[in-house]
Symmetry: C2
Subunit: 342 residues, 2 copies
C-alpha cells in the first residue's frame, strides 16, 4: 500500500515533512498548500511538487510564475491523509474541513491534545496509534523529553522528573519575533505546558517543567533532573542513551561545548538545512548524585526533531508497520538519522 499524503501549510515543519515523504517508498506526496508565492513556494514548484492555494490567492501565484494545481479543497479531495502543518491553533479550525473530506489527519504539537484521538511519540506509544484517525505529534520540546524519559524509564524506572527548558526566541528565518535582549519566564507561573504535555504520552510520570525564552534562534536546550528507581552510575545512563534511537551523545573532548557546535557539526556532515532529528546530549553533563539522582543537558533542534515522528505517525495510522521499531528503523534509514557518532 502507498499512502497518498497532502500537507496543509508549507512553513518550517511542512517543507521538511514534504522532503521526508519524498524519501519513503510507502507514501506519495500528492501536494502541499501555500498561502503566499514566496521563494519557498517557488522552490517547491521548481522541484516538481504540486502547489495548492486558497482560491482567492491563485492569481497571485500565477503572476509569480507558479502554476497552481488547484484549491486547498481540491488538494484534500485527492488524499488519504492530510498533515496539518499550519500555525499553532489553525489546525483546529481546519479539522471540520478534513472531516468533511473523510480524511485522516496528523496535527502538530501547537494544537491541543483533546483535538485528537491520541498524542504521539514513535518511541513511546507507536502501537497505541495503530489505526487511529486523528493523531497529534507532540511539540519539539515534548518530543525530546519523551525520548529521554522513556529511555530512562524502561532502563532504570523513573520516580520523578524536574526540568528546565531554555527555549529559542524565534526560528532562524523569523525577523519579527523576540526577545533580542531579555530572558523571559515562559510562563511566569509554573509549570510550563511541557510537563502536562509529556503526560499525554507517558501518563504515569511525575513531572514538573519550567521554561525560559532566550535570545537565540537555532536550538532549545533542556536541563533535566531525574530521580530514578534504581541506583545507577553515569556510565549506565550513557550506555542506555547510546543504545536508544534518535538520541546521540557528543563529547566535549571533540569540541561539543555548545548548541553552536551541534549546528556546526550538522552543517559539516552535510545535513540538508543542518537538520538534527536526533536529541544531541552533552555527554559530560550526565552526572549522578546520591546514587539515583541524574542530571543531564541536551539540545533540541526545533525545526527538525518532529519530522521523523510525523513519518512514523503516518505508518501507525495506516498500519503500514505494526511494530514501532520497524517504522523507526525505516524512517531513520531514509532520513539518514544516526544511531551513533562517529
Amino acid at each position: 500500500m502507498v499512502v497518498n499524503v497532502v500537507i496543509n501549510g508549507y512553513g518550517t515543519i511542512g517543507k521538511r515533512i514534504a522532503d521526508a515523504i519524498l524519501l519513503q517508498d510507502d507514501m506519495k506526496l500528492i501536494g502541499i498548500s501555500k498561502t503566499k508565492p514566496d521563494f519557498s513556494a517557488l522552490l517547491a514548484y521548481h522541484s516538481g511538487i504540486h502547489i495548492y492555494a486558497p482560491k482567492e490567492n491563485i492569481e497571485r501565484f500565477e503572476n509569480a510564475g507558479i502554476s497552481v494545481a488547484g484549491s486547498i479543497e481540491d488538494m484534500l479531495s485527492n488524499a488519504d491523509i492530510v498533515i496539518d502543518a499550519t500555525p499553532q491553533g489553525v489546525g483546529a479550525k481546519y479539522k471540520p474541513l478534513y472531516e468533511k473530506h473523510g480524511l485522516k489527519a496528523i496535527f502538530q504539537g501547537g494544537e491541543k491534545a483533546d483535538l485528537v484521538d491520541i498524542s504521539f511519540n514513535a518511541l513511546c506509544n507507536y502501537e497505541k496509534a495503530l489505526g487511529k484517525r486523528f493523531v497529534r505529534v507532540v511539540s519539539c520540546n515534548t518530543t525530546a523529553l519523551c525520548r529521554i524519559i522513556w529511555t530512562l524509564k524502561t532502563n532504570f524506572g523513573v520516580k520523578k522528573v524536574r526540568a528546565t527548558i531554555v527555549r529559542r526566541g524565534a526560528d532562524p528565518h523569523e525577523i519579527k519575533k523576540g526577545p533580542i535582549e531579555a530572558l523571559v519566564p515562559n510562563p511566569v507561573t509554573l509549570p510550563s505546558h511541557h510537563g502536562p504535555d509529556v503526560k499525554t504520552i507517558i501518563p504515569d510520570v511525575d513531572i514538573v517543567t519550567t521554561a525560559v525564552v532566550a535570545p537565540v534562534s537555532r536550538m532549545h536546550m533542556h536541563i533535566v533532573n531525574v530521580e530514578l528507581e534504581k541506583t545507577v552510575t553515569a556510565d549506565d545512563v550513557i550506555d542506555a542513551l547510546d543504545k536508544a534511537p534518535r538520541i546521540l551523545l557528543f563529547s566535549e573532548k571533540s569540541g561539543f561545548n555548545s548548541t553552536a557546535a551541534f549546528i556546526e557539526w550538522a552543517r559539516d556532515i552535510g545535513r540538508k538545512r543542518y537538520d538534527i532529528y536526533e536529541v544531541p546530549v552533552f555527554k559530560e553533563s550526565i552526572t549522578v548524585v546520591n546514587g539515583n539522582e541524574l542530571w543531564l543537558m541536551y539540545g533540541v533542534h526545533q525545526e527538525a526533531i518532529v519530522v521523523p515522528e510525523n513519518i512514523d505517525a503516518i505508518r501507525a495510522i495506516f498500519e503500514l508497520e505494526r511494530d514501532g521499531f520497524n517504522s523507526i528503523n525505516k524512517t531513520d534509514n531514509t532520513l539518514r538519522i544516526l544511531r551513533r557518532w562517529p
Copy 2:
C-alpha cells in the same frame, strides 16, 4: 596537469576550500593540517582526508582515534602549493617555512597585502595573477565590494564609491566573541581598511568605507553609494548585475527582505553548510538618484564567498586556465554556483 594542494589550517575557510578542491579535476587534495583533534578533524579523517598535525600534538590525535599522516613539514614536502587558511596574521609567520619547501602559496585576506606578489579577485584581475608565486585572496567584504564595483565600472564607469559595511560579530560556531548587545564602530577612525583593500585589486577607484560590527553571526551587509560616470536607470544596473558572475538578485516580492531570508533560501536549496558563494543583492534596494548616483544593499556570506576565489587563484598560479572567465565557469559549475535564480 593535476596540482597537488595542501591546506594549512582547517577552520571555517580551510574546511570549505578542502571540499571545493575535492570537486575539481585539475587539483588533488594531498592533505590538511589541524592543531586539535576536534569533531572537524574526526569528520575529515572519516571522509578519507589525510590529516597532518604539529609533531607535539600527534599523540593527542592518535588517542582520539585519528591516524595522522605526518607532521606539518611532512605535509608541505608533498605539495605543489599550500593554501594558508590559518588565523589572521599567522600566515605571515608560516611564509618562511613555505619558502623553505619551495612552495607556491595562497594566503587569505587577514594577511597584509605586502606579504604577497599580488592580491586577487577572479573577476577583476585573474590574468595578472598568472604564474605568480604568492597570492592573497582578499577578505570576504573586499571580495564582495570588488565584484560589485568591477561590474559597475566595466558597465558604467565609476567616479567614486562610499560604502558602509555592517559586519557580523562572530561566525556561527564561535561562542567567545562579541558584541552580543552593542554596535561597534570598526574602527572609530575612518576609513575602515576595506576601501584601501579594494584598491589592491582596483587601484584607480576613489573609495571610502566605514564599518560597524553588529550582534549577528550569519552574514555581513553592505550599504553602497556609487557615483557613476554614466547616467543610468535602476533597470540598467539590474541588467548589469544580473549578467555578472557570482552576483544574484533577490526580490522582496519573493520574501527576500533580510539576510535571514538569504540563509533560509540557501538551506532550502540544499547548499552544504548553507554556503552562499554569490553576492545576494536586495533587488529593490537598487535605486538611482540625480541620474548617476546609485544606491544598493546586499549580503555577504563571510564563511563561503572566498572559496571559489581560492580555487580560481590556484588555476591562475599554475596557468591551468589563461582566461579568468574559463576558470570562473569551471569553478562555478563544480560548486553549483548560480548565475541566476530562479
